[in-house]
Assembly symmetry: C2
Homo-oligomer: 722 residues x 2
């Protein structure tokens, strides 16, 4: 088994949606789904753009998919040869996780198509494809190559007013419907053969057709260079796109590929986890790190990562708490400049969060549950469709999942704690933390006849229980947010003038005093036999098994959550909640406490979210149970290797890659198995290696230093890298 | 048309359930459903006892049905003659609302059965029946008469350990399952004929069989006297029941009937509304007043009236807010001793309310939403069954409908305002008001950064919208409750020692100050174009029509409420809510305000509860629209004349009489059409007669005086009665 290669032989149309995710190539600017060159919307081929959103009519806003700028269609002796439509003798495709190169080889009998392509990590606008044809018969071939504007959209169309141009590069320009954002795709081609060349401009694209006679034994190769630009990049996107692809063409495919590979090598140099002892685990870790790195916004200084990455339009391409709690740790520990971009996205979208809070009658910053550009809330009040009545069901993710603001404050605080870098706090981060704290201050429910303060009518990480009171996770995160706000004064003790000016500017003096008063008054959860109650009254709910609850389903597609769902009135939970709390605050709970809670909650957890397993695994390591963590680690790390997970909800496509799991895999390995923890400003190790692992080695950065962590069954060490 | 007689000709088994309600005879101690003597459980025959509850296994607790102590079964020449099982040539039954006498006449061909019976208003334990047989053929008759223990229960059985005795009276003793409350039924018989008499003791009852030859033209009559007693009455119920029926037998049927009629005359003397101009309306008003009077707890000093009266076990025989808001006004204005009993029931059940508040983490008194004996909460967390999954649905009536405590305080305050009688406040009423106020004090949501106080997570009268914030009705009722608590000091200004002692005893000094502080801080509702918003965010809900919402039903039996129901996410409401508020506080809103709200809310109201129409009618009168009030009045007043309303929810019987509508009819006539209002301690009139009414006349008591109200199109007057 090669630790860096995902390979698949054969082709089954039923796998097309899942394979599009597994074989994704991306570079943070865009994601090219793992479909072959001739694939179209029916095969879920797409190039999804990061941070470019559009709303069509009253449908959900979602990211824009660009024109298919690496489109090829071959026919031989009048017969179209296309995977899935023409019978192939064999098909093989592979993805090289090390360098983000996708290869396919399809033998149609008289012709074999093989190609290598990549989405450049060296030039974020560039895609390139080296497309090779090997003939085993004489005949006439026609190769169509160009830009397809038959675009797969979930809630589209999003592009209008197409304009097609030809010249030394083909060019398609269009604009989004809602905000009229110009999008351009350019493509140019270097064939190594002579052919009759015709320009074809059709309703669904612009192409060059290469027509010629071939002989058995001939091999023809064409290198295609494509570029995507949008008006959000600055400048004229058509000019830029044309320039990027012509420049690449001038350098040639091999040089472009080398630059791309070098860029990947630099990434691995920063973050690669070397795992010895289990090949499948090593591969899964590489896959996880590949998927998270390939969607990191390296090209932008303030952009975050959607919950399904750049694998498509699922979940509206929106930014969830996944960013701060699940992706953030790997980046902040290995590539803090990316962590900064994720956080700057939140700093930049503070106005949206202030607006959302005000809409609900609160002060401060209430971040969007599903955040799009500018902090626009993408989450609607109706996120589920009832399977019996087909009516939308009122859900409360948008208005009650208030921990989101604290999650962001938590990440900002972690960034400072791990890097020692105050610049982000000064450049808006402190303001975000203060405004989040202010939101909770105004959201708090005080009592006239007692001191305790509740946070009522919330949803914690376990979304099956809606509108609960004093969710232990939420209350603790809020407290940490408030404490972090107060801590700013110490962090900026040497710059009191700056900090006091900030407080005055935010009209914060009175709130500061109120927050100091509030912290000790937040209600502590009930604890029974060492088990923290997930929220007020949770222990009074029906205590039954997962199987009991499953047996009550009248339709397997029923939503489990809310008062109407089978889980909502029981103790069965969707995902880690108290355990997530314990995983995020390892120093606050003793191993005995974690153990009691793990034993109680694990059998009551459906793990109905890919965010669940990694929290349980982290907690298992904490209590010296890496054996229990191991299967959860493998489930987490392999998710985009195996391509499991739901692809469809009714007729809606919900598949995609799982960046939160990808980040979770890093967390389990580094924070769980190696037990990396910041204590008093220094990284420390508390290793809990499972027997499957004989050695774990990875670089981190902390306090501005590059360090190498190495753990074996004999113990662990951290040493400085040059 | 006779204004006092309900009559029905013919028999349709499909009407049996509804007719059992329409033809109810009752006296506050028990209710005898309007089925014929030979009817059994299949015909919904029952004698329901007031205030005696039992729980069988884990089913809903409900009132106990007594043995059928007036059971007759006739056979002639070997053929059983029973309505609904034997074909009858004709059947007629009638109820005299004036005197509470039920009559039936059934012609089976060779024999006609006719009877008169009543549930004595002069002796609450007594039922009597004069049963007459007229023969048109020779033959042999067997008449079985006695006590049937085949009892119709919804969630039973409730009686166990039956013991049968014969003597000068037949006797059945049994005990309830849960609390072992002894229940006894006795019956004795005075036939005016000779017959061969046999005692039959069977599993399902004890009977005397009278067997003899009859001739064409013979008329035989038997007078039956029955009595029901329970251990809750004090003494040995078997001895008492025997004594009551033997004593009645000794006096004879006519004397007993006369005493009963005299008692009814005294009741009518206190409360009869004479309506001239519309016969149907006059009948409907008599029916409403009959139904409310016949279930009034005259025999008890602290008992209230269930939401379906004594017509059966529906709604668990529990006491709802109907008692204070819908039944109470007629009684307090006409028979304050009954109003006192209703309120003493709440005073007596204060411990239950204190306990319920504590269970939910609050202080003070949180009364049961469905109150049984001792204030036990009869309401479960699951009151609805989903029609698609057949799973119980979590509803929030029990835990969130907090206005119940304020409703009780409102009635206590009204009692004082209308009667001028402080004794009830001194005998526990003031304590109830103070504890209810304390509950709201502890339930209030204050804010750390603003003065406003919310009442969040509540349900108002419109139960379709669950878990709302700042329901205008609820907030106003709470404010009135708090103000009433504070007002106690003025009411008892001449007894400061007593009042201060009470406050000390309740450890109330600190709460007093907090309540005074709280009152001005309770959030006022948003008002838009003069329309009071029902709760925070109501105006933001989908604004659609009743027809729109109805069209979304996938099954006509679907529950409309809650987030999952078709109404819950729209502005469609179940019943008067803001309008109920305006009806209860006529002096607080100008006619223009009421008009704007009536126009807005009426088309958005399903009137899915019989509590709705009367509030809209009251408000219509207030704005000078008695024409709009008229159909709502007729709907309200005729409900138990016509016997409409749902009888079944799936397989559960939910039918019964509608005391809240009965009380509502009085309210519309007296408080709406006549416009009776207490102002500065004196009754005043603001008449709004609809054109159908030429005269309205009714007695009231106010401030201890008996007054006669008379309203004609020319105006109204109130004069003192001697």
């Amino acid at each position: 088994m090669n630790q860096w290669i995902l390979e698949k032989t054969g082709f089954d149309p039923a796998d097309a949606a899942a394979d599009g995710n597994r074989f994704l190539c991306a570079n943070g600017y865009m994601g090219l789904r793992g479909a072959v060159e001739e694939a179209g919307p029916a095969q879920f081929s797409a190039i999804t753009l990061a941070g470019v959103y559009d709303q069509y009519q009253d449908r959900w806003r979602e990211p824009v998919n660009a024109p298919g700028a690496l489109h090829f269609r071959l026919s031989f002796n009048g017969q179209a040869l296309a995977l899935g439509r023409t019978e192939a003798l064999s098909h093989r495709q592979r993805l090289d996780y090390r360098h983000g190169v996708f290869q396919r080889e399809t033998d149609f009998g008289p012709v074999t198509i093989s190609s290598r392509r990549f989405v450049s990590m060296a030039d974020c606008h560039l895609l390139a494809d080296q497309y090779e044809l090997r003939f085993r018969a004489d005949g006439e071939m026609t190769l169509l190559a160009g830009i397809s504007t038959a675009i797969w959209d979930i809630n589209g169309p999003h592009l209008f007013d197409f304009d097609y141009q030809a010249g030394n590069a083909l060019l398609v320009r269009a604009a989004t419907g809602e905000k009229r954002i110009a999008v351009a795709a350019a493509q140019c081609m270097t064939p190594d053969f002579e052919a009759e060349e015709t320009l074809l401009q059709r309703e669904q694209g612009i192409f060059r057709a290469y027509k010629r006679r071939v002989k058995k034994g001939d091999t023809l190769t064409v290198s295609a260079f494509a570029a995507i630009c949008t008006a959000l990049d600055g400048g004229d996107p058509a000019d830029s796109a044309r320039a990027h692809c012509l420049q690449a063409q001038a350098r040639g495919f091999d040089a472009c590929l080398q630059a791309h590979r070098d860029a990947w090598e630099r990434i691995w140099d920063r973050c690669e986890i070397t795992l010895e002892g289990d090949e499948a685990a090593a591969l899964a870790l590489h896959a996880s790190q590949y998927h998270l790195n390939c969607i990191a916004p390296r090209h932008a200084d303030s952009l975050s990562i959607p919950a399904r990455g750049l694998s498509g339009q699922t979940y509206k391409g929106a930014i969830f708490w996944d960013s701060e709690i699940f992706f953030f740790p790997m980046f902040v520990h290995t590539q803090p400049e990316i962590a900064r971009s994720l956080l700057r996205y939140r700093i930049k979208t503070l106005p949206g969060a202030l607006k959302k809070a005000a809409e609900y009658g609160y002060r401060g910053a209430f971040y969007a549950w599903e955040s799009q550009e500018g902090g626009t809330e993408g989450c609607t009040n109706f996120n589920v469709v009832d399977v019996f009545t087909h009516r939308p069901v009122r859900t409360y993710f948008r208005d009650k999942q208030i921990h989101i603001s604290a999650d962001i404050a938590y990440a900002l605080r972690s960034y400072y704690d791990i890097t020692g870098d105050r610049s982000l706090l000064m450049a808006g981060g402190a303001r975000v933390i203060l405004e989040c704290a202010r939101f909770y201050l105004s959201r708090a429910n005080a009592h006239l006849d007692s001191d305790g303060v509740d946070f009522a009518d919330v949803i914690g990480p376990d979304e099956y229980h809606e509108r609960v009171k004093n969710n232990a996770f939420t209350n603790r995160m809020i407290l940490y947010c408030l404490e972090s706000a107060l801590r700013m004064r110490e962090i900026f003790a040497d710059q009191p003038g700056w900090f006091d000016r900030l407080l005055r500017e935010l009209d914060y003096e009175k709130d500061w005093a109120l927050i100091r008063d509030l912290c000790p008054r937040i209600r502590e959860p009930r604890v029974r036999d060492g088990v923290v109650e997930q929220f007020d009254g949770y222990f009074d709910l029906e205590d039954c098994t997962l199987d009991d609850v499953r047996a009550r389903l009248c339709d397997p597609r029923e939503y489990w959550g809310g008062d109407h769902g089978v889980a909502g009135t029981t103790q069965i939970i969707k995902q880690a909640d108290v355990i997530a709390l314990m995983a995020l605050f390892p120093d606050r709970f003793s191993p005995e406490e974690v153990a009691a809670n793990w034993r109680y909650y694990e059998p009551r957890t459906e793990h109905g979210s890919s965010l669940s397993a990694c929290m349980y695994a982290l907690a298992a390591c904490r209590i010296g149970r890496p054996d229990a963590a191991w299967p959860l680690f493998m489930k987490t790390a392999q998710i985009d290797v195996l391509g499991g997970g739901k692809q469809w909800a009714g007729e809606i496509y919900i598949g995609g890659t799982h960046p939160a799991s990808n980040g979770g895999a890093w967390m389990i390995a580094a924070l769980g198995f190696a037990g990396l923890r910041m204590q008093n400003g220094y990284p420390t190790l508390h290793p809990h290696l499972p027997p499957q692992i004989t050695r774990l080695r990875f670089p981190i950065t902390a306090g501005g230093k590059r360090l190498l962590v190495e753990v074996t069954p004999d113990g662990g060490e951290i040493r400085e890298l040059g």
